[in-house]
Amino acid sequence: MPNTQTNGGTAALGLKRPKGTKPLRGSQGKIAVLFLLPYLAVFTVFRLGPSIAGIFISFCKWDLAGSLSFIGLDNFKRMLTDSNFHISIINTLVFFVLTLPPLIIFSLLLAAFFNMKMRGRNVGRTVAIIPYVLIPAVVGIIWNWMYDNNFGILNYYLKKMGGPSVQWLTNEHMALTSVAIVIVWSFLGYNTVLFLAGLQGISKELYEAARIDGATRFQTFIKITLPLLKPTTSMVVTLTMVNTVQLFDQIFVMTNGGPGTSTLTMVQYLYTSAFQNYEMGYGSAIEVAVLIILIIMIFIQNKLLKVDEEV
Protein backbone atom coordinates (compact mmCIF):
# COMPACT_ATOMS: atom_id res chain seq x y z
CA MET A 1 0.00 0.00 0.00
CA PRO A 2 2.54 2.64 0.99
CA ASN A 3 4.73 1.90 -2.02
CA THR A 4 2.08 2.41 -4.62
CA GLN A 5 1.18 5.64 -2.93
CA THR A 6 4.61 7.15 -3.01
CA ASN A 7 4.89 6.29 -6.66
CA GLY A 8 1.55 7.87 -7.25
CA GLY A 9 2.62 10.93 -5.37
CA THR A 10 5.70 11.66 -7.47
CA ALA A 11 4.06 10.83 -10.76
CA ALA A 12 1.19 13.01 -9.78
CA LEU A 13 3.29 16.12 -9.35
CA GLY A 14 2.62 16.58 -13.01
CA LEU A 15 6.07 18.03 -13.49
CA LYS A 16 7.20 15.36 -15.87
CA ARG A 17 4.79 14.85 -18.63
CA PRO A 18 5.34 12.33 -21.40
CA LYS A 19 6.38 13.97 -24.65
CA GLY A 20 3.69 14.56 -27.18
CA THR A 21 0.81 15.12 -24.75
CA LYS A 22 -0.75 18.53 -24.62
CA PRO A 23 -1.35 20.34 -21.35
CA LEU A 24 -4.91 21.21 -22.38
CA ARG A 25 -4.85 24.26 -20.15
CA GLY A 26 -7.76 26.27 -21.52
CA SER A 27 -10.40 23.61 -21.88
CA GLN A 28 -9.59 21.99 -18.55
CA GLY A 29 -9.98 25.24 -16.66
CA LYS A 30 -13.66 25.40 -17.51
CA ILE A 31 -14.43 21.78 -16.77
CA ALA A 32 -12.44 22.00 -13.54
CA VAL A 33 -14.70 24.78 -12.32
CA LEU A 34 -17.74 22.57 -12.87
CA PHE A 35 -16.17 19.74 -10.90
CA LEU A 36 -14.99 21.98 -8.10
CA LEU A 37 -17.94 24.28 -7.69
CA PRO A 38 -20.28 22.12 -5.59
CA TYR A 39 -17.62 21.30 -3.03
CA LEU A 40 -16.13 24.76 -2.96
CA ALA A 41 -19.55 26.30 -2.34
CA VAL A 42 -20.17 24.11 0.72
CA PHE A 43 -16.57 24.47 1.86
CA THR A 44 -16.61 28.25 1.61
CA VAL A 45 -19.93 28.73 3.33
CA PHE A 46 -19.51 26.20 6.13
CA ARG A 47 -15.77 26.11 6.75
CA LEU A 48 -13.55 28.72 5.15
CA GLY A 49 -15.93 31.61 5.69
CA PRO A 50 -16.59 30.88 9.37
CA SER A 51 -12.89 30.32 9.99
CA ILE A 52 -12.02 33.74 8.63
CA ALA A 53 -15.02 35.32 10.34
CA GLY A 54 -13.83 33.84 13.65
CA ILE A 55 -10.64 35.85 13.45
CA PHE A 56 -12.66 38.97 12.68
CA ILE A 57 -15.11 38.44 15.54
CA SER A 58 -12.23 38.06 17.98
CA PHE A 59 -11.72 41.81 17.60
CA CYS A 60 -15.36 42.50 18.37
CA LYS A 61 -17.81 42.44 21.16
CA TRP A 62 -20.75 40.28 20.14
CA ASP A 63 -23.39 39.03 22.50
CA LEU A 64 -26.36 36.95 21.51
CA ALA A 65 -28.56 40.03 21.42
CA GLY A 66 -26.76 40.45 18.12
CA SER A 67 -25.07 43.80 18.52
CA LEU A 68 -21.62 43.72 17.01
CA SER A 69 -19.11 46.39 17.86
CA PHE A 70 -15.45 46.61 17.01
CA ILE A 71 -13.35 46.82 20.16
CA GLY A 72 -9.89 46.29 18.76
CA LEU A 73 -7.57 44.30 20.96
CA ASP A 74 -9.74 44.47 24.08
CA ASN A 75 -10.56 40.76 24.05
CA PHE A 76 -6.89 39.91 23.88
CA LYS A 77 -6.02 42.42 26.60
CA ARG A 78 -8.63 40.81 28.80
CA MET A 79 -6.86 37.46 28.36
CA LEU A 80 -3.76 38.91 29.94
CA THR A 81 -5.53 39.47 33.23
CA ASP A 82 -8.04 36.61 33.08
CA SER A 83 -6.75 34.03 35.54
CA ASN A 84 -9.15 31.36 34.28
CA PHE A 85 -7.67 31.76 30.83
CA HIS A 86 -4.16 31.32 32.24
CA ILE A 87 -5.25 28.20 34.08
CA SER A 88 -6.78 26.85 30.89
CA ILE A 89 -3.50 27.30 29.00
CA ILE A 90 -1.56 25.52 31.72
CA ASN A 91 -4.12 22.72 31.90
CA THR A 92 -4.01 22.29 28.12
CA LEU A 93 -0.23 22.05 28.14
CA VAL A 94 -0.14 19.71 31.15
CA PHE A 95 -2.75 17.53 29.52
CA PHE A 96 -0.68 17.44 26.36
CA VAL A 97 2.46 16.49 28.29
CA LEU A 98 0.57 13.77 30.18
CA THR A 99 -0.89 12.16 27.08
CA LEU A 100 1.77 12.51 24.37
CA PRO A 101 4.58 10.27 25.69
CA PRO A 102 2.37 7.26 26.49
CA LEU A 103 0.41 7.73 23.27
CA ILE A 104 3.62 7.60 21.24
CA ILE A 105 5.67 5.06 23.22
CA PHE A 106 2.94 2.54 24.02
CA SER A 107 1.48 2.66 20.54
CA LEU A 108 4.89 2.13 18.97
CA LEU A 109 5.53 -0.87 21.21
CA LEU A 110 2.07 -2.20 20.54
CA ALA A 111 2.54 -1.80 16.79
CA ALA A 112 5.89 -3.62 16.96
CA PHE A 113 4.16 -6.35 18.92
CA PHE A 114 1.28 -6.66 16.46
CA ASN A 115 3.78 -6.71 13.62
CA MET A 116 5.24 -10.00 14.88
CA LYS A 117 4.17 -13.22 13.30
CA MET A 118 1.64 -14.83 15.58
CA ARG A 119 -1.84 -16.22 15.50
CA GLY A 120 -4.52 -13.99 16.85
CA ARG A 121 -2.74 -10.72 16.14
CA ASN A 122 -5.63 -9.58 13.97
CA VAL A 123 -7.93 -10.07 16.92
CA GLY A 124 -5.58 -7.94 18.99
CA ARG A 125 -5.51 -5.19 16.39
CA THR A 126 -9.28 -5.13 16.17
CA VAL A 127 -9.70 -5.05 19.92
CA ALA A 128 -7.19 -2.23 20.29
CA ILE A 129 -9.04 0.00 17.85
CA ILE A 130 -12.47 -0.51 19.46
CA PRO A 131 -12.15 2.26 22.09
CA TYR A 132 -11.36 4.73 19.32
CA VAL A 133 -14.58 4.11 17.42
CA LEU A 134 -16.82 4.38 20.46
CA ILE A 135 -18.90 7.49 20.97
CA PRO A 136 -16.92 9.81 23.29
CA ALA A 137 -19.83 10.27 25.68
CA VAL A 138 -20.02 6.49 26.06
CA VAL A 139 -16.35 6.34 26.92
CA GLY A 140 -16.82 9.15 29.43
CA ILE A 141 -19.76 7.55 31.21
CA ILE A 142 -18.16 4.12 31.44
CA TRP A 143 -14.95 5.51 32.91
CA ASN A 144 -16.78 7.80 35.29
CA TRP A 145 -18.46 4.72 36.65
CA MET A 146 -15.17 2.87 36.99
CA TYR A 147 -13.66 5.93 38.66
CA ASP A 148 -16.50 6.21 41.18
CA ASN A 149 -15.01 6.92 44.61
CA ASN A 150 -17.13 4.49 46.61
CA PHE A 151 -18.38 1.84 44.22
CA GLY A 152 -15.91 2.08 41.36
CA ILE A 153 -14.18 -1.11 40.30
CA LEU A 154 -10.76 0.55 40.12
CA ASN A 155 -10.78 1.56 43.77
CA TYR A 156 -12.06 -1.88 44.68
CA TYR A 157 -9.07 -3.58 43.09
CA LEU A 158 -6.68 -0.95 44.43
CA LYS A 159 -7.88 -1.56 47.95
CA LYS A 160 -7.75 -5.29 47.47
CA MET A 161 -4.10 -4.98 46.57
CA GLY A 162 -3.54 -2.92 49.66
CA GLY A 163 -3.46 0.41 47.87
CA PRO A 164 -5.17 3.65 48.84
CA SER A 165 -8.62 4.66 47.68
CA VAL A 166 -8.09 7.28 44.98
CA GLN A 167 -10.46 10.17 44.37
CA TRP A 168 -10.00 9.93 40.62
CA LEU A 169 -12.23 12.72 39.42
CA THR A 170 -13.05 14.60 42.59
CA ASN A 171 -9.54 15.43 43.68
CA GLU A 172 -8.27 18.61 42.04
CA HIS A 173 -4.75 17.25 41.73
CA MET A 174 -5.85 13.95 40.26
CA ALA A 175 -8.67 14.80 37.84
CA LEU A 176 -6.57 15.87 34.85
CA THR A 177 -4.43 12.75 35.12
CA SER A 178 -7.52 10.57 35.35
CA VAL A 179 -8.92 12.08 32.18
CA ALA A 180 -5.53 11.69 30.51
CA ILE A 181 -5.60 7.95 31.29
CA VAL A 182 -8.95 7.67 29.54
CA ILE A 183 -7.65 9.52 26.50
CA VAL A 184 -4.59 7.30 26.27
CA TRP A 185 -6.88 4.29 26.51
CA SER A 186 -9.11 5.50 23.71
CA PHE A 187 -6.51 6.85 21.27
CA LEU A 188 -3.86 4.17 21.72
CA GLY A 189 -5.32 1.82 19.13
CA TYR A 190 -5.60 4.58 16.56
CA ASN A 191 -1.93 5.51 16.87
CA THR A 192 -1.03 1.83 16.82
CA VAL A 193 -2.68 1.37 13.44
CA LEU A 194 -0.77 4.36 12.10
CA PHE A 195 2.53 2.96 13.35
CA LEU A 196 1.68 -0.48 11.99
CA ALA A 197 1.23 0.97 8.53
CA GLY A 198 4.64 2.60 8.87
CA LEU A 199 6.26 -0.61 10.08
CA GLN A 200 4.84 -2.60 7.22
CA GLY A 201 6.33 -0.13 4.80
CA ILE A 202 9.86 -1.00 5.96
CA SER A 203 11.48 -3.50 3.64
CA LYS A 204 11.92 -6.99 5.06
CA GLU A 205 15.33 -7.31 3.41
CA LEU A 206 16.82 -4.73 5.74
CA TYR A 207 15.90 -6.87 8.72
CA GLU A 208 17.20 -9.92 6.97
CA ALA A 209 20.54 -8.19 6.36
CA ALA A 210 20.73 -7.05 9.95
CA ARG A 211 20.04 -10.56 11.15
CA ILE A 212 22.80 -11.98 9.00
CA ASP A 213 25.16 -9.35 10.40
CA GLY A 214 24.27 -10.65 13.84
CA ALA A 215 22.42 -7.62 15.15
CA THR A 216 20.29 -8.18 18.21
CA ARG A 217 16.58 -7.48 18.18
CA PHE A 218 17.13 -4.35 20.24
CA GLN A 219 19.90 -3.07 17.95
CA THR A 220 17.74 -3.66 14.90
CA PHE A 221 14.92 -1.71 16.48
CA ILE A 222 17.13 1.27 17.38
CA LYS A 223 19.25 1.35 14.22
CA ILE A 224 16.77 0.35 11.54
CA THR A 225 13.20 0.58 12.68
CA LEU A 226 13.27 3.90 14.50
CA PRO A 227 15.13 5.94 11.85
CA LEU A 228 13.03 4.55 9.01
CA LEU A 229 9.89 5.18 11.00
CA LYS A 230 10.66 8.85 11.47
CA PRO A 231 8.15 10.18 8.91
CA THR A 232 5.41 8.10 10.51
CA THR A 233 6.46 9.17 14.00
CA SER A 234 6.44 12.79 12.99
CA MET A 235 2.97 12.44 11.53
CA VAL A 236 1.65 10.58 14.57
CA VAL A 237 3.07 13.22 16.91
CA THR A 238 1.41 15.98 14.91
CA LEU A 239 -1.94 14.20 14.86
CA THR A 240 -1.75 13.42 18.58
CA MET A 241 -0.86 17.00 19.33
CA VAL A 242 -3.76 18.37 17.33
CA ASN A 243 -6.12 15.79 18.84
CA THR A 244 -5.18 16.38 22.47
CA VAL A 245 -5.01 20.16 22.32
CA GLN A 246 -8.44 20.22 20.69
CA LEU A 247 -9.89 17.57 22.93
CA PHE A 248 -13.33 18.50 24.16
CA ASP A 249 -15.89 15.70 24.21
CA GLN A 250 -14.54 13.37 26.87
CA ILE A 251 -13.47 16.12 29.26
CA PHE A 252 -16.83 17.79 28.88
CA VAL A 253 -18.72 14.62 29.70
CA MET A 254 -16.44 13.44 32.49
CA THR A 255 -15.69 16.58 34.49
CA ASN A 256 -17.01 19.61 32.58
CA GLY A 257 -13.82 21.42 33.57
CA GLY A 258 -14.08 20.62 37.27
CA PRO A 259 -13.57 20.09 40.09
CA GLY A 260 -12.96 23.80 40.38
CA THR A 261 -10.93 24.67 37.31
CA SER A 262 -8.69 21.63 37.50
CA THR A 263 -9.65 20.21 34.11
CA LEU A 264 -10.56 23.49 32.44
CA THR A 265 -8.69 23.32 29.12
CA MET A 266 -8.68 26.11 26.57
CA VAL A 267 -11.32 24.47 24.46
CA GLN A 268 -13.54 23.95 27.52
CA TYR A 269 -13.10 27.57 28.46
CA LEU A 270 -13.89 28.63 24.91
CA TYR A 271 -17.14 26.69 25.06
CA THR A 272 -18.08 28.14 28.45
CA SER A 273 -17.34 31.69 27.34
CA ALA A 274 -19.17 31.50 24.05
CA PHE A 275 -22.08 29.19 24.71
CA GLN A 276 -22.74 29.46 28.43
CA ASN A 277 -21.81 33.09 29.11
CA TYR A 278 -22.73 34.08 25.52
CA GLU A 279 -19.63 36.15 24.99
CA MET A 280 -19.03 35.29 21.35
CA GLY A 281 -16.29 37.88 20.89
CA TYR A 282 -14.22 36.67 23.81
CA GLY A 283 -14.83 33.08 22.81
CA SER A 284 -13.53 33.81 19.33
CA ALA A 285 -10.45 35.41 20.81
CA ILE A 286 -9.78 32.20 22.74
CA GLU A 287 -10.20 30.32 19.46
CA VAL A 288 -7.49 32.44 17.94
CA ALA A 289 -5.28 31.71 20.95
CA VAL A 290 -5.85 27.96 20.55
CA LEU A 291 -4.89 28.26 16.91
CA ILE A 292 -1.73 30.20 17.70
CA ILE A 293 -0.69 27.61 20.28
CA LEU A 294 -1.27 24.80 17.79
CA ILE A 295 0.76 26.55 15.13
CA ILE A 296 3.63 27.12 17.57
CA MET A 297 3.53 23.48 18.65
CA ILE A 298 3.51 22.19 15.11
CA PHE A 299 6.38 24.52 14.27
CA ILE A 300 8.43 23.22 17.21
CA GLN A 301 7.53 19.66 16.33
CA ASN A 302 8.70 20.13 12.75
CA LYS A 303 12.01 21.52 14.00
CA LEU A 304 12.52 18.64 16.41
CA LEU A 305 11.47 15.81 14.13
CA LYS A 306 12.63 17.18 10.85
CA VAL A 307 11.50 15.06 7.95
CA ASP A 308 12.39 15.49 4.31
CA GLU A 309 9.40 16.96 2.61
CA GLU A 310 7.63 14.33 0.63
CA VAL A 311 4.81 15.06 -1.75
Binding site: A12, A128, I135, Q246
Partner: protein, 277 residues
Amino acid sequence: MKKKIKPGLKYLLLVAVCVVFLFPLVWAFVCSVKPEAEILSYPPRWVPKTFTLSNYTTVLQKYPYLSWGVNSLITSIAGTLLILFLASLAAYALGRFHFRGRNLIYGTIVTMLLIPIQAYMIPLYLMCAKVGMLNTYGSIIFPSAANVTSIFILTSFFKGLPRELEEAARIDGCGEFTIFAKIMLPLSKPALSTVTILTFIANWNSFLWPMIAIRSDKMLTLPVGIAQFMGSVNSNAQFQYGTALAACCMAIISTMIVFLLLQRYFVEGIATSGIKG
Protein backbone atom coordinates in the same frame (compact mmCIF):
# COMPACT_ATOMS: atom_id res chain seq x y z
CA MET B 1 22.78 -14.51 19.23
CA LYS B 2 19.19 -13.47 19.04
CA LYS B 3 16.63 -14.85 21.38
CA LYS B 4 13.15 -15.55 20.09
CA ILE B 5 10.41 -14.26 22.31
CA LYS B 6 8.70 -17.32 23.68
CA PRO B 7 5.28 -18.00 22.11
CA GLY B 8 3.76 -18.41 25.56
CA LEU B 9 4.87 -14.95 26.58
CA LYS B 10 3.51 -13.52 23.33
CA TYR B 11 0.06 -14.89 23.98
CA LEU B 12 0.12 -13.75 27.56
CA LEU B 13 0.87 -10.25 26.28
CA LEU B 14 -1.88 -10.49 23.69
CA VAL B 15 -4.40 -11.48 26.32
CA ALA B 16 -3.23 -8.67 28.58
CA VAL B 17 -3.68 -6.14 25.76
CA CYS B 18 -7.18 -7.40 25.05
CA VAL B 19 -8.08 -7.24 28.74
CA VAL B 20 -6.92 -3.63 29.01
CA PHE B 21 -9.04 -2.55 26.06
CA LEU B 22 -12.12 -4.66 26.74
CA PHE B 23 -12.31 -4.57 30.53
CA PRO B 24 -14.26 -1.29 30.77
CA LEU B 25 -16.76 -2.41 28.15
CA VAL B 26 -17.40 -5.81 29.70
CA TRP B 27 -17.80 -4.21 33.11
CA ALA B 28 -20.30 -1.73 31.68
CA PHE B 29 -22.37 -4.57 30.20
CA VAL B 30 -22.31 -6.50 33.47
CA CYS B 31 -23.50 -3.49 35.44
CA SER B 32 -26.15 -2.49 32.93
CA VAL B 33 -28.17 -5.63 33.71
CA LYS B 34 -28.09 -5.11 37.48
CA PRO B 35 -30.76 -3.22 39.41
CA GLU B 36 -29.54 0.18 40.64
CA ALA B 37 -29.37 -1.01 44.25
CA GLU B 38 -26.99 -3.78 43.32
CA ILE B 39 -24.86 -1.50 41.13
CA LEU B 40 -24.32 0.72 44.15
CA SER B 41 -23.34 -2.03 46.51
CA TYR B 42 -20.02 -3.15 47.82
CA PRO B 43 -18.10 -5.23 46.89
CA PRO B 44 -18.71 -5.14 43.10
CA ARG B 45 -19.72 -8.51 41.63
CA TRP B 46 -18.93 -9.79 38.16
CA VAL B 47 -21.96 -12.08 38.16
CA PRO B 48 -25.18 -10.14 38.84
CA LYS B 49 -27.28 -11.44 41.75
CA THR B 50 -30.44 -10.31 40.02
CA PHE B 51 -30.54 -10.11 36.26
CA THR B 52 -32.80 -7.37 34.94
CA LEU B 53 -33.39 -5.50 31.70
CA SER B 54 -35.27 -2.73 33.48
CA ASN B 55 -32.47 -0.23 32.83
CA TYR B 56 -32.87 -0.80 29.12
CA THR B 57 -36.63 -0.45 29.17
CA THR B 58 -36.31 2.74 31.23
CA VAL B 59 -33.99 4.25 28.64
CA LEU B 60 -36.26 3.31 25.77
CA GLN B 61 -39.42 4.47 27.50
CA LYS B 62 -38.35 7.66 29.23
CA TYR B 63 -36.01 9.04 26.59
CA PRO B 64 -36.46 9.41 22.82
CA TYR B 65 -33.52 7.06 22.48
CA LEU B 66 -34.66 5.49 19.23
CA SER B 67 -35.24 8.93 17.67
CA TRP B 68 -31.69 9.86 18.64
CA GLY B 69 -30.46 6.73 16.90
CA VAL B 70 -32.50 7.49 13.80
CA ASN B 71 -31.29 11.11 13.79
CA SER B 72 -27.72 9.88 14.05
CA LEU B 73 -28.20 7.42 11.22
CA ILE B 74 -29.86 9.96 8.94
CA THR B 75 -27.30 12.68 9.51
CA SER B 76 -24.31 10.31 9.33
CA ILE B 77 -25.44 8.59 6.16
CA ALA B 78 -26.58 11.77 4.42
CA GLY B 79 -23.39 13.56 5.44
CA THR B 80 -21.24 10.70 4.21
CA LEU B 81 -23.04 10.45 0.85
CA LEU B 82 -22.79 14.19 0.35
CA ILE B 83 -19.09 14.13 1.13
CA LEU B 84 -18.53 11.28 -1.32
CA PHE B 85 -20.33 13.16 -4.06
CA LEU B 86 -18.75 16.57 -3.48
CA ALA B 87 -15.26 15.38 -2.61
CA SER B 88 -14.85 12.88 -5.43
CA LEU B 89 -15.72 15.53 -8.02
CA ALA B 90 -13.53 18.20 -6.46
CA ALA B 91 -10.63 15.89 -5.75
CA TYR B 92 -10.76 14.62 -9.31
CA ALA B 93 -10.40 18.13 -10.63
CA LEU B 94 -7.59 18.87 -8.18
CA GLY B 95 -5.81 15.62 -8.90
CA ARG B 96 -6.04 15.40 -12.67
CA PHE B 97 -6.88 18.68 -14.35
CA HIS B 98 -4.38 21.37 -15.14
CA PHE B 99 -5.65 24.84 -14.54
CA ARG B 100 -4.50 28.05 -12.99
CA GLY B 101 -5.02 28.41 -9.26
CA ARG B 102 -5.09 24.68 -8.67
CA ASN B 103 -2.34 24.72 -6.08
CA LEU B 104 -3.84 27.74 -4.37
CA ILE B 105 -7.23 26.05 -4.04
CA TYR B 106 -5.73 22.78 -2.89
CA GLY B 107 -3.45 24.56 -0.42
CA THR B 108 -6.33 26.54 1.05
CA ILE B 109 -8.44 23.44 1.51
CA VAL B 110 -5.68 21.42 3.11
CA THR B 111 -4.69 24.25 5.45
CA MET B 112 -8.15 23.92 6.96
CA LEU B 113 -7.06 20.49 8.26
CA LEU B 114 -5.28 22.42 10.98
CA ILE B 115 -8.25 24.50 11.98
CA PRO B 116 -10.49 22.59 14.35
CA ILE B 117 -14.25 22.87 14.66
CA GLN B 118 -13.78 24.93 17.81
CA ALA B 119 -12.07 27.59 15.76
CA TYR B 120 -15.00 28.24 13.49
CA MET B 121 -18.06 27.03 15.33
CA ILE B 122 -18.98 30.42 16.76
CA PRO B 123 -19.36 32.14 13.36
CA LEU B 124 -20.96 28.94 12.03
CA TYR B 125 -23.46 29.04 14.87
CA LEU B 126 -24.23 32.72 14.33
CA MET B 127 -24.69 32.11 10.61
CA CYS B 128 -26.94 29.09 11.08
CA ALA B 129 -28.97 31.02 13.64
CA LYS B 130 -29.40 33.89 11.20
CA VAL B 131 -30.77 31.76 8.37
CA GLY B 132 -32.89 29.66 10.72
CA MET B 133 -30.94 26.48 10.11
CA LEU B 134 -30.45 25.54 13.76
CA ASN B 135 -32.31 22.50 14.97
CA THR B 136 -32.49 20.95 11.51
CA TYR B 137 -30.72 17.97 9.99
CA GLY B 138 -29.15 20.39 7.54
CA SER B 139 -27.29 22.17 10.30
CA ILE B 140 -25.44 18.92 11.03
CA ILE B 141 -25.14 17.55 7.50
CA PHE B 142 -23.79 20.57 5.61
CA PRO B 143 -20.96 21.53 7.95
CA SER B 144 -19.88 17.89 8.02
CA ALA B 145 -19.88 17.86 4.20
CA ALA B 146 -17.22 20.57 4.13
CA ASN B 147 -14.85 17.74 4.92
CA VAL B 148 -11.15 18.21 4.23
CA THR B 149 -9.64 14.79 4.96
CA SER B 150 -11.61 13.23 2.11
CA ILE B 151 -10.27 15.79 -0.37
CA PHE B 152 -6.81 15.00 0.89
CA ILE B 153 -7.13 11.25 0.48
CA LEU B 154 -8.96 11.30 -2.84
CA THR B 155 -6.76 13.91 -4.49
CA SER B 156 -3.62 11.92 -3.84
CA PHE B 157 -5.38 8.81 -5.04
CA PHE B 158 -6.57 10.35 -8.31
CA LYS B 159 -3.10 11.78 -8.89
CA GLY B 160 -1.70 8.26 -8.77
CA LEU B 161 -3.93 6.77 -11.44
CA PRO B 162 -2.13 6.19 -14.75
CA ARG B 163 -2.61 8.93 -17.30
CA GLU B 164 -2.82 6.54 -20.27
CA LEU B 165 -6.32 5.53 -19.23
CA GLU B 166 -7.84 8.91 -19.77
CA GLU B 167 -5.73 9.71 -22.82
CA ALA B 168 -7.12 6.61 -24.49
CA ALA B 169 -10.66 7.49 -23.54
CA ARG B 170 -10.19 11.03 -24.75
CA ILE B 171 -8.99 9.79 -28.12
CA ASP B 172 -12.12 7.67 -28.26
CA GLY B 173 -14.05 10.90 -27.88
CA CYS B 174 -15.28 10.55 -24.30
CA GLY B 175 -16.18 13.75 -22.45
CA GLU B 176 -14.46 14.60 -19.21
CA PHE B 177 -17.45 13.68 -17.12
CA THR B 178 -17.82 10.31 -18.83
CA ILE B 179 -14.14 9.61 -18.19
CA PHE B 180 -14.66 10.47 -14.55
CA ALA B 181 -17.84 8.50 -14.02
CA LYS B 182 -17.17 5.50 -16.22
CA ILE B 183 -13.44 4.98 -15.90
CA MET B 184 -12.02 6.75 -12.86
CA LEU B 185 -14.73 6.19 -10.26
CA PRO B 186 -14.85 2.41 -10.66
CA LEU B 187 -11.09 2.35 -10.20
CA SER B 188 -11.35 4.38 -7.00
CA LYS B 189 -13.23 1.88 -4.89
CA PRO B 190 -10.45 1.41 -2.31
CA ALA B 191 -10.02 5.15 -1.78
CA LEU B 192 -13.77 5.75 -1.74
CA SER B 193 -14.37 3.05 0.84
CA THR B 194 -11.62 4.54 2.99
CA VAL B 195 -13.33 7.92 2.83
CA THR B 196 -16.70 6.35 3.52
CA ILE B 197 -15.51 4.69 6.69
CA LEU B 198 -13.54 7.61 8.05
CA THR B 199 -16.26 10.15 7.43
CA PHE B 200 -19.03 7.88 8.65
CA ILE B 201 -17.30 7.24 11.97
CA ALA B 202 -16.46 10.93 12.32
CA ASN B 203 -20.07 11.90 11.65
CA TRP B 204 -21.45 9.18 13.88
CA ASN B 205 -19.28 10.28 16.82
CA SER B 206 -19.52 14.00 16.23
CA PHE B 207 -20.47 15.72 19.46
CA LEU B 208 -19.62 19.38 19.97
CA TRP B 209 -21.20 20.90 16.88
CA PRO B 210 -24.44 18.85 17.02
CA MET B 211 -24.72 19.76 20.71
CA ILE B 212 -24.59 23.44 19.82
CA ALA B 213 -26.71 23.26 16.68
CA ILE B 214 -29.52 21.11 18.07
CA ARG B 215 -31.50 22.27 21.07
CA SER B 216 -34.71 20.25 21.00
CA ASP B 217 -34.65 16.92 22.78
CA LYS B 218 -36.17 14.93 19.93
CA MET B 219 -33.73 16.18 17.32
CA LEU B 220 -30.59 15.24 19.26
CA THR B 221 -28.11 12.79 17.83
CA LEU B 222 -26.99 9.74 19.80
CA PRO B 223 -23.69 11.17 21.15
CA VAL B 224 -25.40 14.29 22.45
CA GLY B 225 -28.38 12.35 23.73
CA ILE B 226 -26.20 9.94 25.67
CA ALA B 227 -24.30 12.82 27.23
CA GLN B 228 -27.60 13.85 28.81
CA PHE B 229 -27.27 10.87 31.09
CA MET B 230 -24.13 12.27 32.61
CA GLY B 231 -24.54 14.22 35.78
CA SER B 232 -22.01 16.88 34.88
CA VAL B 233 -23.76 17.74 31.64
CA ASN B 234 -27.31 17.75 32.83
CA SER B 235 -27.36 18.00 36.59
CA ASN B 236 -30.62 16.15 36.98
CA ALA B 237 -31.46 14.60 40.31
CA GLN B 238 -32.65 11.37 38.78
CA PHE B 239 -29.22 10.42 37.48
CA GLN B 240 -28.69 6.70 37.73
CA TYR B 241 -25.70 4.66 36.69
CA GLY B 242 -27.91 1.80 35.55
CA THR B 243 -29.81 3.74 32.92
CA ALA B 244 -26.69 5.63 31.81
CA LEU B 245 -24.80 2.38 31.33
CA ALA B 246 -27.72 0.75 29.52
CA ALA B 247 -27.82 3.72 27.14
CA CYS B 248 -24.08 3.32 26.61
CA CYS B 249 -24.31 -0.40 25.96
CA MET B 250 -26.95 0.01 23.29
CA ALA B 251 -24.76 2.60 21.61
CA ILE B 252 -21.77 0.29 21.85
CA ILE B 253 -23.71 -2.53 20.22
CA SER B 254 -24.88 -0.38 17.33
CA THR B 255 -21.42 1.11 16.80
CA MET B 256 -19.87 -2.35 16.91
CA ILE B 257 -22.26 -3.69 14.29
CA VAL B 258 -21.24 -0.93 11.89
CA PHE B 259 -17.62 -1.30 12.85
CA LEU B 260 -17.39 -5.06 12.47
CA LEU B 261 -19.13 -4.94 9.10
CA LEU B 262 -16.60 -2.44 7.83
CA GLN B 263 -13.65 -3.30 10.02
CA ARG B 264 -11.23 -4.31 7.29
CA TYR B 265 -11.69 -1.06 5.40
CA PHE B 266 -11.56 0.87 8.61
CA VAL B 267 -8.06 -0.18 9.61
CA GLU B 268 -6.90 0.37 6.04
CA GLY B 269 -8.60 3.71 6.12
CA ILE B 270 -6.72 4.96 9.14
CA ALA B 271 -3.47 3.70 7.69
CA THR B 272 -4.01 5.45 4.36
CA SER B 273 -5.15 8.74 5.79
CA GLY B 274 -2.32 8.57 8.26
CA ILE B 275 0.41 8.09 5.73
CA LYS B 276 -0.75 11.11 3.88
CA GLY B 277 -0.97 13.21 6.97
